[in-house]
């Protein structure tokens, strides 16, 4: 059961770093994604963009990681944008009440 159902791709233009989340960000994918994101989230020099257009599934595990990224960026006053949020994912963000944090960034 090692077929990867989640992966990330990054592109960088100048100091703008875009991370594309693809597939299912679930419990199985969580720890790898958390480790991947940690240095990026803590890098105050880059302007970080999370592109969720190809994110097909997320649950509280993945949302918890997004929250910790939001917190880290907010504490450093570092730029973060979350873009192209699919409708089903947006619905969960609204339900939980984190859309306001995404909008303010």
């Amino acid at each position: 059961m090692n077929g990867k159902k989640f992966n990330v791709e990054t592109t960088q233009e100048g100091n703008q770093l875009t991370v594309f989340l693809q597939g299912e960000l679930d419990l199985a994918a969580a720890s790898e994604f958390r480790s991947f994101m940690e240095p990026l989230a803590n890098d105050g020099e880059v302007s970080l963009i999370l592109d969720l257009s190809k994110l097909t599934y997320i649950d509280s595990t993945g949302i918890g990681i997004l929250i910790s990224i939001l917190k880290a960026r907010s504490e450093m006053n570092a730029p973060l944008q979350v873009v192209h949020i699919p409708a089903q994912v947006q619905k969960l963000f609204d339900m939980i009440g984190i859309s306001k944090f995404l909008a303010s960034n």
Binding site: L27, E75, L92, M95, I98
Partner: protein, 152 residues
Amino acid sequence: MADVNLQQQVRLSIPAQAEYVDLVRLTLYGIAHQMGFSFEDIEDMKVAVSEACNNAVLYAYKRDGGIVDIVFNVGDQELELVIRDEGESFDAEEKTQEPGAWHDTPLEDVETGGLGFYLMQALMDDLEVNSMEGRGTEVRMKKSITFSEEHQ
């Protein structure tokens, strides 16, 4: 009301490991799609059932080799999901009482505990959690089919 006698049952047992939870979502998709649930309702149930399985995977067993049983009770217009583990203990009932959403919370105070239960409650029509000390946890959740015309 669904006639209990007309219910059909699908059972799935998975190892209590994260990489098998996807299998529950795939099975759920197959059953719910066949029953006529909308795409949106299926997505809601996928998250809800995964949250219950995640809890079992993360908290139920203090040893290897644990199993999570998932029962799909297929009614006429309703799907009931029962997620059961035989773990040592888990404060599931207590967790369901915790607030899970952060509509009025500043970002620095946001904590992710309790979020899974909040989502299960919000996404399903009905949720019931029973934990027995040392005998595991049973989560029962139900959703009825809403006809797609209502969403358009």
